[in-house]
Symmetry: C4
Amino acid sequence: MDTHNDAELTLAEARRRKFLIQAGVTVGSLAVATTLPGISHARSEHSMSTQHHSPAVGGFWPGDIRLVISISMQFEAGGQPPKGTDSPFPKVDFPAGVPSDPATNTWFAYGYREGIPRMLDLWDRHGVKVTSHMIGEAAKKHPDLAKAIVERGHEAAGHGPRWSSEYAMSRDEEKQFIAEGTRMVEEVTGQRPTGYNCNWLRRGPNTLSLLQELGYTYHIDDISRDEPFIEQVNGKDFVVVPYTLRNNDILLVEGRNYSPDKFLAQIKRDFDELYREAGTRRRMMSISAHDRISGSPQMVSAWDEFIHYAKSKAGVAFMRKDEIARFALHSPLTLRESETI
Amino acid sequence: MDTHNDAELTLAEARRRKFLIQAGVTVGSLAVATTLPGISHARSEHSMSTQHHSPAVGGFWPGDIRLVISISMQFEAGGQPPKGTDSPFPKVDFPAGVPSDPATNTWFAYGYREGIPRMLDLWDRHGVKVTSHMIGEAAKKHPDLAKAIVERGHEAAGHGPRWSSEYAMSRDEEKQFIAEGTRMVEEVTGQRPTGYNCNWLRRGPNTLSLLQELGYTYHIDDISRDEPFIEQVNGKDFVVVPYTLRNNDILLVEGRNYSPDKFLAQIKRDFDELYREAGTRRRMMSISAHDRISGSPQMVSAWDEFIHYAKSKAGVAFMRKDEIARFALHSPLTLRESETI
Amino acid sequence: MDTHNDAELTLAEARRRKFLIQAGVTVGSLAVATTLPGISHARSEHSMSTQHHSPAVGGFWPGDIRLVISISMQFEAGGQPPKGTDSPFPKVDFPAGVPSDPATNTWFAYGYREGIPRMLDLWDRHGVKVTSHMIGEAAKKHPDLAKAIVERGHEAAGHGPRWSSEYAMSRDEEKQFIAEGTRMVEEVTGQRPTGYNCNWLRRGPNTLSLLQELGYTYHIDDISRDEPFIEQVNGKDFVVVPYTLRNNDILLVEGRNYSPDKFLAQIKRDFDELYREAGTRRRMMSISAHDRISGSPQMVSAWDEFIHYAKSKAGVAFMRKDEIARFALHSPLTLRESETI
Amino acid sequence: MDTHNDAELTLAEARRRKFLIQAGVTVGSLAVATTLPGISHARSEHSMSTQHHSPAVGGFWPGDIRLVISISMQFEAGGQPPKGTDSPFPKVDFPAGVPSDPATNTWFAYGYREGIPRMLDLWDRHGVKVTSHMIGEAAKKHPDLAKAIVERGHEAAGHGPRWSSEYAMSRDEEKQFIAEGTRMVEEVTGQRPTGYNCNWLRRGPNTLSLLQELGYTYHIDDISRDEPFIEQVNGKDFVVVPYTLRNNDILLVEGRNYSPDKFLAQIKRDFDELYREAGTRRRMMSISAHDRISGSPQMVSAWDEFIHYAKSKAGVAFMRKDEIARFALHSPLTLRESETI
């Protein structure tokens, strides 16, 4: 059964304290994060709420942090195939001579023309740093936008060079595929991705092994937990920073039957329960924002309301997934999963 | 017509009073349940609301109970086929060489890693006992979790050894199938199931007959009433403890277009009307909670709010389905259905 | 263009006043309805709200009535085919040897076991009379329930002997089909239907002609207006009492993604606007209630709230469709449609 | 990246001021619009809210206008094919001998019988002028209604002679198609359309070129921005007045799972964020209203509430798309898009 029992917690707590002391961390204070690379944003006045003091946090995250929120911002617009892509438009069969589907492509274009710029302003207003999963070709087509994302403090993560089904590739094909996407993002942004997200989360039997070979330290294509954990890949530690479907704009709104209020209501409920649980164990909340969906005015309005709400609670921090992965890798409290899924 | 007329009620009332006296029951008091096996939980301070006195309850349930709520908690995660299962992910055709669909399997894994542990804590906080429908293979893969469910006072009910369409089996195949699932749950939990639930409620022409042969006393694959009733199976009484689609998380949220607030609003409305009706006839409310769906933070938050609400009304009790079946089998007020569906 | 201009209204008003005087009607008083057959229920204390006086009603309906609400209650449960029917359950292919789908059939059985009895009690509590569209076989299987509907003051209307696609029948086949359904309802209830509703509203090219030949005076398979109107069928007047999809429980909740609160909110909005409009022209609001859907506790709770709300406004009357048709047939204000759809 | 940087804004601002002075416009006053053809409605007391003064508007629109709202009202009812059209009814296969689907056609008929008349009254009550996208055959079948739309101050825009897939036509076929639809609308209304909307927004590779050849000045089949912009078509300026899916009644309600409250909540949210943004850049909000969907009482009630809300904010104007296109064509601040989608 996957719960900590008391004995385990006591042992883990002892190891954690030792680790934190070695790392120069002062438990229960904001001084912690300075000595851990990548958690710097958690110290920011804007990204962590400090209005109320939170005395009883168990030290599951650095410093005073009680609950970590991790936001994914997909940068996919422009990287979609020219026709036949999923969108709110009805499916039609295009004659072979029709080269593209402009209607759908303008739906995607909203992502780079309005969506990401609007979200970048939102994150800035709140001092929130996010993880941007970048399709290589999307970044290549709009390099200034990709660069702006990184320059404004966000993480550039891998998402493949284009939309393709990795699970159906041979090992060699997939290796080239991942490497190509990695190179594209690095060339455009100057930042080498350390985290990965497959198309629709659908990895194949070789994906994790290849990611580790290619220098990745974590992946997100797992929705089984509300906290980061460690799996063995190629005999070494590899971090899972779990993703989400339940707090995922693309599943909740799908372009059709759109409801920002519904989205807002349920991420607030999710937050409430995780915040409660975070008093006694490590908890992380994942939320995702696709360029062309969460970038609309009505969705940004809902996101804004959510961030205000979350920041009104003591000890809430927004962290990039690379920061979370680095912290999890070194924390003695991190769950270690022996099961392979 | 399926309503009690006054004459019937008077007769039934006379029989009921006689039965209750024989059973040592004091009508209108909490002393009742001690003498009826399996209704013990209804006496618990936590599972039955006693804040307000409910003077006019008609004795349709033991003691002061006015309305019974029965919660089903599916334990299916880990028992799903390795690929091709229904989930919020889009359907794809996996090449034959791809052994499994990790993305979907991590969605299911959420059920045993986070969902059931979180729900068990919720039930404990409220003193609520539920019926857990266990897929045999799910229980076998996570025996500690299956055992914890029973040890914390919940019912282990049969749900087949794996996901399969019983309606399409021969009588012999189906007999082996049910027996295998029964054995698996008993081996893991030490509790022999007495109630049964087919995959998607879809029983075949031999299912009920086989269940009775194999020692089951009730099934739930019927959504035609808001109270338990008795059918003749193999010439003997067999109890139906009706299940629900309208208060069923899997139909309401489906993983997509998730809305815990919608779920909460409608189970509250259902409760309100059944509670009203329960003043003059026997009423039971059924609600279901799937491991990977109702086990999310946002759904547990909604469930928590519902249970608080229900418990604020006098005479509301949460009962396991085996308790309900045993009570219904001996109560002279139980409806007897001659029609075969 | 389909709006009254002032000149037409003036002319129509003159004709209306003459008609009302001939009919012995006192405009603006409750005395009216007594002299018009079939509007008797509108006089009931319960079915028409008289809390507030409504001085400026234009006489578009009898007496003080400002807005008419017409409720359809489908009685279909028990009349469905044994397998393969639409329901909230996933579609499956049953082997030929499997005679029926018990899961789906218990979903339908809810309609006669709980749904209609619960709705009948609701209508009685409010003094509301409705139109019940009866599948012949459903009425035959549960004759006591069908009789109770009529005995409690509701209208038995035709809905075919069983679920079948009239649009695909020859004229002779369809004639037999309609006649058979008519006979079944009359035999069971003693009431000969005068109104008709095709399966899923889908009439064929001969339907209206046949209905008139067979003695029907109105049909509802038209959703193009918010008031009754007259079409020429076989060269004679035939009334359309429009039905609805937008206030139709089966389209709004479909058994899945159920939301009684959503249903309630939108019928209240529909009412608000129609009530406003009803101050200056004839307006009718149609709402439908299927046995197995609107008959649930949560939906009856929503209906109850709506009826309370509607009755709190002056001049709101609930009328059966046969009453509406008879009134429309004789009222000089009734729209006459030359277009054939 | 598609955001204005400061330098660009300063340059653009200088050009804008020069343009406005040349055009006789007084920045920050209502006197502006008189000298710009087609923006006259923005001056109307009813269509622009002047309750509160808005001191800091950046002059992105004429005069005191801070945010422009553009409403599309589709006039399609009556122009649909006789059977097989999308509607809330379940799809069925009609036998070849069945000439039409009356049920679906009465659903469409609601659009011209109730929907558009009701919406015209709504627009009049608020002094709002809209753009009506007219299917040629719909206008031909109900010429009085088409004329009334134009006579009441609304724009008649092109939408094809009938429902057809322009993307699959040859250049010649499509040219005839567009020309035919243009002619039909002009013949009926006396107004030659200058704006165009393809069926389901799905233009083909020749559409824009043909539209410019045929005298059109703008199209709306692009959902990539929240403001008008200019593209090069046939080497000349052509305006895009972006349309919307997220504020589109047909995608949000689809005839099924209808929810006017959901629609209202999200267009209010969209408005809130665009209104905020409109303080520092040009913003336009597009909303669409289909005859048979937004024309229902419940949807008109929601629209009414939205318009009241929008008009309560200072500087909100409702403009026709032809007015917007003319203004955008001459404004130095208008974005110019080099990319071809």
